[in-house]
Subunit: 412 residues, 2 copies
């Protein structure tokens, strides 16, 4: 039997009725002749609740215990999905991460999948089981303890299963009917894309478009997994969602495909750093060791041997970042006069594979922002995207200005 992977996000399993509706979709694919691997997220709100509990215990918590607590949301929804499928006479059972076992690295709270043995589940398919319901997000480290893959990790679980089992397709069911040119809550002119290239999706995901976890896109690209994003609401025969595919499969691509944003950005500035060769390593080494995800980095021109250094990271890592930098200073590894943090910033980006062959995108972007008097604090660019850090209060304005400026409401 061909294998299909279907992943249901938190809103798609938020209530028993929604799980029933998702299970009906699974049953249709079983009737279509597939052996189905279903990956489930925790019921909507559950992971936030659990993370909240952990964070209330203290600021610097043991990530191993975080994982033990936070992974439980997926255990619950996997069991419930299996029960409901059984109730519909679809032979199903649930698998927890450690039962597969989905082997990961030991990086608790941000583990990476290392290996998914297929034997146990294939044996059950051989015995007539039609659906393996797997708890997303969770795995087991070599220390025998529960690990989690980071927020949105169930997408990665789904793609990894599709890759490991040679799945015909990996369908990601979510609360939107596909990938849009930007967040429709911000711009009413946002348009659904029928196809998007892996590379673009990767940039959009990394930039805060919450449809897919970026690691899942990376994994799908690497293993050639056919990925589809579609809504778990509405008529199953309606629309095919958005295919995430190879660049070659996209006939006509626009210069810019989408505008993404991330509210969860903070800016830190080390004022008057003693500048010398190796200073960047001396600063970012301890930050990496402290698990801070540094994103943008800007270093001003050096004057008289001293320089200002600015970087951004997720807002919830600011305390950790400041502690790491202060410790490096007290240990004499680095030297600076002041340390400033600003959590009132956000990042807005334009993304498109067409940028590779089109000049002038940056200029057009800066003009669109200038017209609205939005000051740009930091700029970074890659081959297919340009990102700016701006004052958070301008986020919606900037997104709309860019969406209009690049005329994204029009299909190419």
């Amino acid at each position: 039997m061909p294998i299909l992977v279907m992943k249901f996000g938190g809103t798609s399993v938020a209530t028993l009725d929604r799980i029933r509706s998702a299970a009906t979709r699974v049953g249709r694919e079983v009737a279509n002749g597939y052996d189905v691997i279903v990956i489930v997220s925790a019921m909507a709100g559950e992971t936030d609740r659990l993370v909240g509990l952990v964070k209330e215990t203290g600021q610097f918590f043991d990530a191993r215990e975080y994982d033990a607590v936070v992974s439980s949301g997926e255990s619950v929804s996997a069991g419930l999905m299996a029960l409901i499928l059984q109730e519909m006479d679809v032979p199903a059972r649930s698998w927890l991460g450690w039962q597969v076992p989905l082997m990961t690295t030991g990086a608790h709270a941000a583990a990476r999948i290392e290996r998914i043995p297929t034997r146990n589940i294939l044996a059950k398919f051989g015995e007539g089981m039609k659906v393996a319901v797997v708890a997303g997000f969770q795995g087991i480290g070599s220390d025998g303890r529960v690990t989690t893959l980071g927020r949105g990790g169930s997408d990665t679980t789904a793609v990894a299963f599709a890759a490991a089992f040679g799945g015909e397709r990996c369908d990601i069911y979510t609360d939107v009917d596909g990938v849009y040119t930007t967040d429709p809550r911000i711009s009413v002119r946002a348009r659904k894309l029928d196809r998007i290239a892996f590379e673009e999706m990767l940039e959009l995901a990394a930039l805060g478009a919450k449809v897919l976890q970026s690691r899942s896109v990376e994994l799908a690209m690497r293993h050639g997994v056919r990925l589809r994003v579609l809504s778990s609401f509405g008529d199953p025969d309606d629309g095919a969602g958005t295919y995430v595919c190879q660049e070659e499969e996209i006939v006509e691509s626009s210069v810019v495909s989408g505008v993404a944003y991330s509210r969860d950005e903070a800016k830190l500035t080390l004022v008057s750093v003693a500048d010398r060769p190796g200073i960047a390593a001396a600063i970012f080494g301890p930050l990496a060791a402290a698990g801070v995800n540094v994103d943008m980095i800007v270093q001003n021109v050096s004057e008289e041997g001293r320089t200002d250094l600015t970087f951004s990271c997720p807002t919830d890592q600011v305390a950790r970042a400041m502690r790491a930098v202060e410790e490096a200073k007290s240990e004499g590894v680095i030297n600076f006069r002041g340390l400033l943090s600003d959590t009132d910033v956000c990042k807005v980006s334009v993304v498109g594979i067409g940028m590779r062959s089109h000049a002038g995108v940056a200029a057009k972007m800066f003009e669109a922002l200038a017209r609205e008097n939005i000051n740009i604090q930091v700029i970074t660019t890659s081959e297919i995207k340009i990102s700016v850090l701006i004052d958070r209060k301008y986020l919606e304005l900037a997104v709309q200005a860019l969406h209009d400026g690049f005329e994204l409401e029009r299909a190419t």
Copy 2:
């Protein structure tokens, strides 16, 4: 280091503040020189919520999936307790059932503990860990799937750990400060007992006094575990709770120690059963196979080869029981004219080791109920208890009448 087992029930870990308060008690015992094994229940209300979700999926659910779902409440509280202990600088880590591994039988949703290997946890104590926080209620069956021990199973987990590790004592922290002569919510004259014999506690627990799961008492009795029930609220220096101990340790025992009750009773009657040798086995065999916990059984005098047979079971097993009996009838195993069920009954019992040497307890009990015009539907007795099934609306009245009748408000 001597080992102490401390178990905290659902109300004792209902919020992070309560977990902190429990952790403070644990810290005191660590300071007293103990290596501590903490067993935690799910946060109050959580198991009910999860059981509710499972039951909503359908009436006849797969107990293996039930276990996967319902066990998650304890995983959460174990992680949180470990985090809070760490925050108080007490070296601690959590253990899920399958990590210990706490090996159980394969009877999902009602598994029995078979083996608790001590090696892993002792090794951690050897490395300086002071507290092993173990998720109560959950284990792993030989099929590699999560099992649970039945409601209240965390008490049994605690006693089993005390037995396996040779714990000096097993302290059960709960929301009451000990074992009472009856439920204080029903009789204002209920009195706290300083000591109670294992046998009495066993009857009380089995009869619905919710302080301890009966299996935990059985296990403690068998392994000579020193068991104590005490409150996790109020001043830790206050009162020692109730010791559950050997009969010999109780200097003066009353004839009756307590009045217990259970609302969760249903009565089923098979009307006009064809009476023949082996008929009881033919009826109760299928009920046992269907997992129905039959409690009281009464068979009327047989007339003309037919008899009425009445038995009681928990209310939530009525559907299952009726199905099993109807199936046995349709298969020709048994024959009866009618099947009646009554879920408006309850069980009230008096318990006391003194009954062994005192006559007239039953008569006194029936008199007390007769004075209140309470009709007795079914009676069963054991060496140290007498139980009656009565109309549920008389429950509170019966408990008070019996508590007063046996003068339980007075210490002996």
